[in-house]
């Protein structure tokens, strides 16, 4: 049994419930004991660190302080925090790293935490992503052994996004530009893994809110590449990537005049299928792009999407036009 302190993060309870449900369905088989950090809070996602460092890192570090206190109190023999969400993982790892690297930041953060009676000594916890734990602690041999229904014939595009393999403080990934861990995991499940060239390219993150056209361009690249390789579906490790590609796929199609219907699912969902769990327990109904055509290829009956496809928003042109900026026309050369 591998025991970990577990930080789910907000998305696991909202947009990424498919991830949470499918993870829940496989933890026992993977021999993982995930001890959730009590009273955890939002990690601040990608925005808050751009505003003010001390409050942002205090927000993140509160979780680490709680985790280390929980580890000490329960004496449960682990000092490893596992995060399932890429942004959460990166934020936690960054906070731990920067507090060591910049003593003043560490001091400020701990002063802020002291108001709540908390303290975190940077370096005491090991912070890892769920995929890293499955690859390196559980191991591919154990994964292969648990496979009862190999995903033979399913062509999948492994997509990591930018926040898991970089920056790799602890040197856990085989490569930062083209890591092969997810490919190997999916192969172990019996799927046909394509050599996805954009596997660490950006999905646009919160650009969907700030500059939709930028986000659609980036999402379009990913969908186009997966389609070029005739992938049946894209497999991600990141709630942000999954939501952007799944929920904004119709809008992207609309903006770029394309017609992709590319299911985008979490790797844990595919692990569940390969381990013989029914698709209904693995959150497939929560996927917005219909997964049924793809999964029918391997004889899996998937539930229909819970709601109707998301329609592109109608943008009301009420605002005043922006002044043109020099050099803008060259960007899309």
């Amino acid at each position: 049994m591998n025991k970990y302190l577990y930080y789910p993060g907000c998305s696991m309870e909202s947009s990424a419930r498919a991830y949470a449900e499918s993870l829940n369905a496989i933890v026992d088989q993977m021999g993982l004991v995930l001890d959730e950090i009590h009273d955890w809070n939002c990690c601040g996602a990608t925005e808050y660190v751009g505003i003010s460092l001390t409050p942002a890192y205090s927000l993140i570090t509160r979780n680490l302080a709680l985790a280390s206190a929980q580890a000490a109190k329960q004496g449960n023999g682990t000092n490893t925090v596992v995060a399932s969400c890429s942004a959460c993982y990166l934020n936690l790892a960054k906070a731990d790293h920067f507090m060591q690297e910049r003593p003043l930041l560490g001091k400020n953060v701990n002063e802020a935490l002291a108001a709540g009676g908390l303290h975190y000594e940077p370096g005491t916890l090991e912070i890892r992503h769920l995929l890293d734990v499955i690859i390196n602690d559980v191991g591919l041999d154990a994964v292969s052994a648990a496979v009862t229904k190999p995903l033979k014939g399913l062509r999948v595009a492994p997509y990591l996004g930018c926040m898991v393999p970089r920056p790799d403080y602890e040197g856990r990934w085989s490569d930062h530009e083209h890591p092969m861990e997810l490919d190997r995991l999916l192969s172990a499940l019996g799927a046909e893994v394509i050599d996805f060239p954009l596997k660490t390219h950006c999905c646009g993150g919160h650009m969907t809110q700030i500059s939709p056209s930028t986000a659609f361009e980036l999402l379009g690249r990913l969908l186009h590449a997966a389609d070029q390789y005739h992938a049946d579906m894209m497999v991600t490790v990141c709630p942000m990537c999954q939501m952007n590609l799944d929920a904004y796929q119709n809008e992207t199609n609309h903006a770029l005049n394309t017609h992709y219907q590319m299911p985008v699912i979490f790797f844990t969902q595919l692990m569940g299928l390969a381990f013989g769990k029914p698709a209904t327990e693995l959150g497939f109904a929560r996927n917005l792009v219909d997964t049924r055509p793809a999964l029918s290829r391997i004889g899996v009956e998937a539930p229909a999407p819970a709601g109707p496809p998301v329609q592109p928003r109608k943008v009301k042109k009420t605002g005043l036009p922006m002044p043109s900026m020099p050099g803008h026309e060259e960007v899309h050369e």
């Binding site: 530009e177 050599d195 060239p197 954009l198 379009g220 690249r221 186009h224 590449a225 070029q228």
Partner: protein, 680 residues
């Protein structure tokens, strides 16, 4: 502490001269040299100092004369010079002492330049430190002994390791001068990387045409013993008298009978990808000579891939050999040779571009390495010189050449690999000439130093090759714009135009950097050499002694010392040969008498020191359970002295007494307290 009597022996009978150098403003700019000299003359008087002077350039002939005259006139028995590092001028001042009749080893050079003036900015503190350093030198020199150098004969034969162009050049120079050479090569043939190339920059000479005559000369030279398919396994001895053991791997071909007719290669049914000579782009048989002009012409049987060795049947080569030269019973043969000097010219390995995953080598079929392209463009290569894509038939209409792959990159190698710019230009020219394709060069900086190199760059520019300055971000097959389908897209920031570019091409050539041989560290250890952090072998002096090493009698030439092109490799080969010939002509050599010795009574036989010696100078007597140090091999580095738990080893010139005395001097414990002097 300061009131205690110094533990040093009385210096009454010694007359010490102290000389403090200004080194122009190198030392005098930070250290008040005059004050140091005056202080030494005053305060170290009772430690035997009878004269103390400062001078602008102590190493000049006038400075040296100053010392010589004092030795003669004042009868100095010891000399301390406070100047630069002993690496630079120890020999100068020892020689000066010798000229004046003082044993050279009674001179001590202490460094107040590298260790004081160059590393400090506080003038007062630097002056104080210089006084301490001088004081330490004075205490130490009292314990110096008069030593005589060891004179050993020099064996006239030379070992050259590595049969690339640098090694061939060195071997030929020495052999032509009339001295015997053993040329050892790991591969079945000499020739090295140069034999793989099609053309050489900037003259576009056919590489084989200029190399093979040299190979033939080396192969047939009466003074050269060629040992191919062989490796050095052991090196004993010291400058002038090395004993080298060489393993001759079994060829399974009797070279006395073989005529090199090639029938065995024709008949061998086993075809293997040739990862060495053809860079993985072509095939060879299990019995093979790497290329038609191989020297020697005899093939070897590759045991790992031979059907007979692996499965027990076949023997096709044996059946068809007209002279019965195939001999499956051959074993490793060990040859021992005596040589006076060794030249290492073991060359380089190509950086493996699989490590730069974003360039897709190994994943994307039409990404090639520079060495692959050399074979592709070689008229004797796998495509007879046709420049085609990996499918073997399609001629590319556009080619991208990426520079600095694995070089000048903190993720891989920091250094510049020197040859890649010119190599990229050469490729551009060849592609243009043979296919008319559009060629792009993606470079960070264009480095075309040396004779006629920039002219070649101009020529390639005029031929219409396109140049984009910027480090390529990635090579991908993920097309998304019109015209990109089925192409390799080179994504690059054009740093001159400040735009991102996506350039679709059919073929990408990675101008991979050079890196040390994969086993460079083991080989360095075998020969008692040291490597830089990158793994290149370190020369004795980067400017003034580029082919000698810190190990006397061992020289380096070519890329083993660092990346370089063919002309530089040839120059170094010739230079190393010249150094060796100079040595051989001297017939004998005087060795530094600074040596470690073992006090057998104290040696417990623990053998801790045995494996530490970088010069293999320590031998162990099993019968008496004591260690002995071969004085001719010992370089006086002091490693064993420091390691000996029993304190049984002491070094001449750095004995415990000398070191302890120097420390006391540095701490100024040798001085009479000032107030005591004042009270008198």
């Amino acid at each position: 502490m300061s009131t205690e009597e110094p533990t040093n022996p009385s210096p009454d009978q010694e007359k010490i001269g102290v000389y403090v150098c200004h080194c122009g403003s190198n030392i005098a700019g930070i250290v008040d040299v005059q004050e140091v000299a005056e202080w030494a003359g005053e305060r170290l008087k009772d430690r035997g100092v009878v004269v103390s002077r400062d001078y602008k350039f102590m190493c000049s002939s006038l400075g040296q004369e100053l010392i010589e005259n004092d030795i003669k006139d004042k009868g100095l028995t010891r000399v301390v010079v406070a100047a630069c590092s002993p690496h630079l001028h120890e020999n100068t001042f020892r020689t000066a002492c010798g000229r004046a009749g003082l044993n050279p080893y009674l001179c001590e050079l202490v460094s107040i330049r590298e260790q004081v003036s160059w590393v400090h900015t506080d003038k007062d503190a630097a002056t104080t430190k210089s006084k301490a350093v001088v004081s330490g030198g004075v205490e130490r020199v009292i314990h110096h002994e008069a030593l005589e150098p060891l004179v050993v004969p020099i064996h006239p034969a030379t070992l050259v390791v590595g049969g690339g162009i640098a090694g061939i050049q060195a071997a030929l120079e020495i052999a032509d001068a009339g001295f015997p050479v053993y040329l050892v090569e790991r591969e079945p043939s000499i020739g090295g990387h140069m034999a793989q190339f099609d053309k050489t920059f900037p003259t576009l000479d056919c590489s084989a045409c200029i190399l093979t005559p040299r190979m033939v000369s080396a192969g047939g030279h009466p003074n050269i013993t060629l040992l191919t398919w062989s490796e050095v396994t052991r090196v004993d001895g010291y400058v002038g008298n090395f004993t080298v053991t060489i393993r001759k791997k079994p060829r399974y071909v009797n070279t006395d009978l073989c005529t090199g007719c090639g029938i065995c290669q024709e008949k061998c049914p086993k075809k293997i990808i040739d990862e060495v000579y053809e860079a993985g782009l072509g095939y060879r048989k299990a019995v093979y000579t790497p290329f038609p002009q191989a020297v020697p012409r005899y093939p070897v049987i590759d045991r790992e891939n031979c059907t007979y060795f692996q499965k027990g049947t076949c023997r096709a080569c044996e059946k068809f050999c007209p002279t019965n030269a195939i001999d499956f019973t051959q074993q490793d043969e060990f040859v021992t040779v005596e040589v006076g000097n060794i030249i290492l010219a073991t060359g380089y390995d190509l950086f493996d571009p699989r490590r730069v995953t974003q360039y897709g080598y190994g994943r994307l079929a039409n990404v090639f390495t520079s060495l692959e392209f050399e074979r592709l463009s070689n008229s004797a290569g796998p495509t007879n010189g046709a420049i085609v894509l990996r499918d073997g038939v399609t001629t590319p209409a556009s080619v991208g050449i990426i520079h600095c792959v694995g070089s000048r990159d903190r993720n891989f190698n920091n250094y510049c690999s020197v040859i890649c710019c010119m190599q990229g230009l050469k490729f551009a020219h060849i592609v243009k000439e043979r296919t008319g394709a559009t060629v792009y060069n993606f470079y960070i900086d264009m480095r075309t130093a040396y004779k006629a190199y920039d002219e070649f760059y101009q020529r390639v520019l005029e031929e219409g090759t396109l140049f984009v300055r910027g480090k390529v971000a990635e090579v991908t097959d993920a097309a998304r714009l019109p015209g990109e389908d089925g192409k390799l897209i080179v994504q690059v920031e054009d740093t001159l135009a400040s735009v991102q570019r996506r350039i679709p091409v059919d073929m990408v050539i990675l101008s991979s950097g050079l890196q040390p041989r994969h086993d460079a560290k083991e080989v360095a250890h075998l020969f008692g050499l040291s490597c830089s952090a990158d793994g290149w072998y370190i020369e004795k002096h980067p400017k003034l002694d580029p082919v000698a090493t810190m190990t006397d009698g061992i020289f380096i030439a070519g890329c083993v010392q660092g990346p370089k092109d063919i002309p530089s490799s040839v120059s170094q080969g010739a230079a190393a040969a010249a150094r060796v010939l100079g040595r051989i002509q001297q017939k004998q050599i005087a060795l530094e008498p600074v040596r470690a010795t073992v006090d057998e009574a104290k040696c417990s036989g623990c053998r801790i020191c045995n494996n530490l010696c970088p010069f293999n100078a320590i031998l162990f007597h099993e019968d008496r359970m004591v260690t002995e140090i071969n004085p001719a091999l010992c370089q006086g580095c002091g490693t064993c002295v420091a390691a000996c738990p029993a304190g049984a080893i002491s070094g001449t010139g750095f004995s415990n007494e000398q070191i302890l005395a120097q420390i006391e001097g540095l701490l100024l414990l040798n001085l009479q307290p000032l107030h005591a002097t004042a009270a008198d």
